[in-house]
Amino acid sequence: MEQDICKEAVYRDLFYQHANHLRNFAYYKCGNLEEAEDLMQDAFSKLWENCSAVQFSKVKSWLFTIVNNTFLNTVKHQKVVLKFQEQQPKSDSDQQDPQYLLEEKEFKAKLMQAINDLPEDLKLVFLMNRIDKKKYREIAEELNLSVKAIEKRMHKALSILRKIHKKV
């Protein structure tokens, strides 16, 4: 049976399930965490207003579409520079030699730059897979694209990123 989004409990579950991914998605687009959270909150407010009109099975792609549209309509377009937290790698890095660590640091900076320079459509798919750990099917569903299109974008993103090795 279709679930009723107008019910608080159902709506709350949807929020807890999708808020984080939606905020990340908005961040990849606008490059500002506060703005990204506003975009996410705004989309959920619109979901509440339209709770009886939105099909439960389509909620996810509906939310992503709203964030995308609001972003295109309101946010001034500028070059987005994304920053991420670096989690500590699992190996004990203090045992590695300083030369290696320096090279690794340089490589990471180059990689980050290359990710920022990716065409937007490729960057989005690449980050949704790498940061949010989503399967292509899930990304396809959220962006209203075919799985094949997602796979192609990953493939293209990887072949562009691979070129940074040649420049190091």
Binding site: A19, R130, H155
Partner: protein, 301 residues
């Protein structure tokens, strides 16, 4: 070996067979790709505080829902005036953020006239949206899919797509922006196309630009006088079969399973699916299993 990236894309999605994985690991590119993946594995965004975020969301909603209860008769007029005032200020504020969206249904095209008299013809399944009360100030249209534009003379007119922006003054042109590809055809006037590869192309009449995600955009001449789809025709020039059949799926609202690869140059019409299938399949020696109205069609070599 460009295929390695494709194998890797599949590997990241956990789709490879044991042998394919073995081949991948033996390839020279494996170390490079692994370094990229390892480095991105360590990246993260700060986790959203869901409880806090939900409290914010709830507070915002309750503010909207709170309604005054039990108004005494004496205050009725005052309340009415207040409500009218509130509406007067609220409505423009509400309208500002709401975009108007127009979609052409399956197997239908749609003509939409913008406030300035410019005309947009939407091909089937395509969507445009724009902010109505901002349109007087800046003419910005977002497009997903394919549309033909007849723009009245005036200030700048911008079409935004996922694959790039098109800027014009007053002209006629066609934009095709599905999944992976952007094709802009200019028929009259001048069109400027900004593609994600940071190229800027100025198109004169009978010129077009083609951009595919991840590759360089190319400008070339075009012999079309108006978009073929307006006449109920889809035309291709050395296009991937996958792309051709995607277009056919959209036009006829069917599901086509393609077990063949190749390129197609030619056209098909939008009024008879059997004729359309034959037009593409016959010259390439492909077989299809279409018979009176099955909606899942298989095409094989």
């Amino acid at each position: 070996m460009a295929n390695i990236d494709n194998l890797y894309a599949k590997w990241l999605n956990g789709e490879l067979s044991a042998e394919e994985e073995e081949a991948l690991k033996k390839s020279g590119e494996w170390a490079e790709l692994e370094a990229i993946i390892k480095a991105t594995d360590e990246l993260a965004l700060p986790e959203l505080d869901l409880d806090k975020a939900y409290a914010t969301q709830k507070a915002g909603r309750e503010k909207l829902q709170k309604k005054p209860v039990g108004i005494r008769p004496l205050y009725w007029v005052a309340a009415a005036v207040a409500a009218a005032l509130a509406l007067f200020f609220l409505i423009p504020a509400l309208m500002q953020s709401s975009a108007k969206t127009i979609t052409a249904a399956h197997q239908k095209t749609k003509v939409y006239r913008l406030p300035d008299g410019s005309e947009i013809k939407l091909n089937d399944g395509s969507t445009i949206s724009f902010v109505e009360n901002e349109y007087g100030k800046e003419r910005i249209i977002e497009l997903m899919g394919e549309a033909f534009f007849d723009v009245k003379k005036g200030g700048q007119f911008i079409v935004k797509t996922q694959q790039g922006d098109i800027e014009v003054l007053g002209t006629t042109f066609n934009v095709m922006a599905w999944d992976e590809q952007l094709i802009v055809d200019c028929f009259t006037g001048k069109v400027q196309v900004n593609t994600p590869d940071a190229q800027q192309h100025i198109l004169n009449p009978s010129e077009k630009v083609v951009y595919k995600t991840g590759s360089k955009s190319l400008k070339s001449s075009s012999d079309k006088l108006s978009p073929r789809w307006l006449a109920g025709i889809s035309q291709f020039e050395n296009a991937d079969l996958e792309y051709v059949f995607n277009e056919m799926e959209r036009q006829y609202n069917v599901d086509i399973k393609l077990n063949a690869t190749g390129k197609f140059s030619g056209l098909f019409t939008h009024n008879d699916i059997e004729v359309a299938l034959n037009k593409v399949c016959k010259p390439l020696g492909l077989q299809h299993n279409y018979q009176n109205g099955n909606s899942v069609i298989t095409v094989t070599q």
